[in-house]
């Protein structure tokens, strides 16, 4: 599948923003501290940039409001509705922390619930597509949720500076996300596609089907959108880069920060862990799209 930059930025940043919103909603951070207020603003900014980016790939973004109407059937619509619905308690929580140094448990609980459901909806846009075998699994939402939570706790650790609990939870979720992604990837690389050129043409009863002549001499929308192959050439290298940035570096930085305890070096290590993690997730998301094979390519 074609990895549109806007979609990669959207799923990465809004995922991290909602992950941070979960940690904030659970009340891990002391609302009277300046860093907590900044964390709220960061969460809101990540989500806003992500949602704005998602509009960029639309053919007619001026009608984007219509996407909120079909929540009964469409995961994309549900995602839009939940993203905006979650914005409200998150903004109130942020205002409460910034102006009154307070954290409201009920408001926080609603934010947590909304954020988790939003990330789940985002992942289901992809997981619900039967046409892309590697996405069509419950492991896809699991990965998205764990990536989001791992990012949330990494961000929170960086904002707190010396929070052992946040750091341990960040370690735990990075580790869980890694396991989930390994299982996901193992499935994706070993699965047998449900559709083949034989089922796509119905000509399997005669023999093996091979494309003899394309319908057109050059590319079309379908081959550009579904037949993207650039990332596949470098997939193994990109996977290593994603693994180092998204797992190895954040874990090393976290361990370093936990050993030092507090101070500038620990703070730098934690900020570094966040930067590495975001890069890692961006590469992972690139591969998520770039490596995905669509059923329509059985005709090409």
């Amino acid at each position: 599948m074609h990895p549109a930059y806007s979609i990669i930025v959207f799923t990465t940043l809004s995922g991290l923003g909602y992950g941070l919103a979960v940690v904030l909603g659970l009340g891990f951070l002391d609302p009277s501290l300046l860093m907590t207020k900044l964390a709220y603003l960061t969460s809101l900014a990540l989500i806003s940039i992500g949602l704005a980016a998602s509009l960029l790939h639309l053919g007619n973004p001026q009608r984007a409001w219509r996407a909120l109407s079909q929540w009964r059937s469409s995961w994309l619509s549900r995602e839009g509705v939940m993203a905006i619905a979650t914005f409200i308690p998150l903004t109130f929580s942020a205002a409460l922390a910034i102006f009154a140094d307070r954290h409201d448990v009920i408001l926080g609980f609603i934010t947590v619930l909304g954020a988790l459901v939003t990330v789940y909806c985002t992942s289901m846009i992809y997981a619900s597509l039967k046409t892309v075998d590697s996405w069509h699994t419950k492991l896809t939402p699991l990965c998205f949720l764990l990536f989001s939570l791992a990012g949330g706790f990494l961000f929170a650790s960086a904002f707190v500076g010396n929070g052992l609990v946040e750091e341990l939870l960040a370690l735990l979720f990075v580790f869980l996300a890694l396991i989930a992604k390994l299982v996901w990837r193992n499935r994706a690389t070993t699965l047998l596609p449900i559709s083949t050129p034989e089922t796509a043409t119905g000509l399997g009863f005669i023999g093996k089907v091979r494309l003899f002549e394309r319908p057109h001499t050059l590319d079309n929308y379908l081959t550009r959108e579904m037949g993207f192959r650039v990332a596949r050439k470098h997939a193994a290298k990109l996977w290593v880069i994603a693994f180092i940035c998204g797992v190895v570096l954040p874990i090393l930085a976290l361990l370093l920060a936990m050993t030092i305890g507090e101070g500038l070096t620990a703070q730098i290590a934690l900020v570094f862990s966040v930067i590495a993690y975001v890069l890692g997730i961006l590469v992972e998301r690139w591969l998520f799209f770039g490596e995905a094979k669509h059923a329509v390519m059985n005709y090409y």
């Binding site: 599948m1 790939h57 639309l58 053919g59 007619n60 973004p61 009608r63 984007a64 219509r66 996407a67 909120l68 109407s69 079909q70 009964r72 059937s73 469409s74 995961w75 994309l76 619509s77 839009g80 846009i125 619900s128 597509l129 039967k130 046409t131 892309v132 449900i194 559709s195 050129p197 089922t199 796509a200 043409t201 119905g202 000509l203 009863f205 005669i206 023999g207 093996k208 089907v209 091979r210 494309l211 003899f212 002549e213 394309r214 319908p215 057109h216 001499t217 050059l218 590319d219 079309n220 929308y221 379908l222 959108e225 579904m226 669509h294 059923a295 329509v296 059985n298 005709y299 090409y300």
Partner: protein
């Protein structure tokens, strides 16, 4: 509303495509583009039509496949490899995943006849329906930024200003070999439904669970070349020669 009709539509307008007959001339492709670029919705644009990197929006395309049985690469053995021309357009699925993923309500399946359409004024051009379709039936028009798809020529089939013979989809009307047939597949007594039963019409990618309305008729079995070719080549066969030719045959054999 992008939910599918509550009850399955009784009338199921669709196409039956005969893979035995199609010669791959692409007349239906051009006729489709011609009708639909000036008809329903925005035009079917081309990008760089006179440049090096030409591409454009089409609602109907012809692929050609080589089908080779085991060992069939060698002519005359185990049946022959053959080329099958394969027209492909929207199948107007009963359980159309392109409709339910639409976030805006632009994509819908008509209750009255099962035709799947896009309301272009509501389409935001997110492309998710094209991702949800296994058949490549939907193409984003890059000029208009909206999704285009086969309308089953909804603006022809009910158009009373056209002559009766023209009230069929443009691709069906234009096909020079009658490889495309239009009708109500929900009516078991319709010509198309009978054709499907008699010829063993099949669904494309049934494993995707989309229940396509359009059906494809399989290519008929061929007589293998090894069966039809005489054991003694024709030029060598003088059996049955009489009179002067019999004498000439014998004499020349003796020399």
């Amino acid at each position: 509303m992008t939910s599918l009709p509550q009850n399955r539509t009784a009338k199921k307008l669709g196409l039956v495509i005969d893979l035995d007959v199609c010669v791959g001339c692409h007349a239906c492709v051009i006729s489709c583009k011609e009708w639909n670029t000036g008809g329903y919705g925005s035009a079917l644009s081309d990008q760089h039509p006179y440049g090096a990197d030409v591409s454009g929006t089409f609602l109907n395309r012809i692929h050609s496949f080589e089908v080779a049985p085991e060992g069939g690469q060698i002519i005359g053995e185990a049946g022959d490899a053959r080329v099958v021309h394969f027209p492909k357009s929207c199948l107007h699925c009963e359980d159309a995943p392109c409709v339910t993923v639409c976030p805006t309500g632009a994509s819908y399946k008509r209750v009255e006849d099962g035709i799947v359409l896009v309301d272009e004024d509501k389409c935001i051009g997110c492309g998710l329906c094209a991702w949800a379709c296994a058949y490549g039936a939907r193409e984003m028009d890059l000029a208009a930024g909206v999704m285009k798809k086969c309308t089953l020529c909804v603006d022809r089939v009910y158009n009373e200003t056209l002559k009766q013979e023209d009230r069929v989809p443009s691709c069906v009307r234009t096909c020079p070999v009658n490889a495309r047939h239009f009708g109500d597949l929900g009516d078991p007594n319709s010509d198309v439904a009978i054709m499907v039963v008699e010829r063993g019409g099949f669904d494309l990618m049934p494993e995707q669970g989309t229940r396509p309305t359009n059906k494809y008729l399989p290519p008929r079995p061929r007589t293998s070349l090894s069966d039809s070719a005489p054991i003694i080549p024709l030029a060598e066969n003088t059996e049955g020669a009489r009179g002067f030719f019999a004498w000439l045959d014998k004499t020349l054999d003796r020399i």
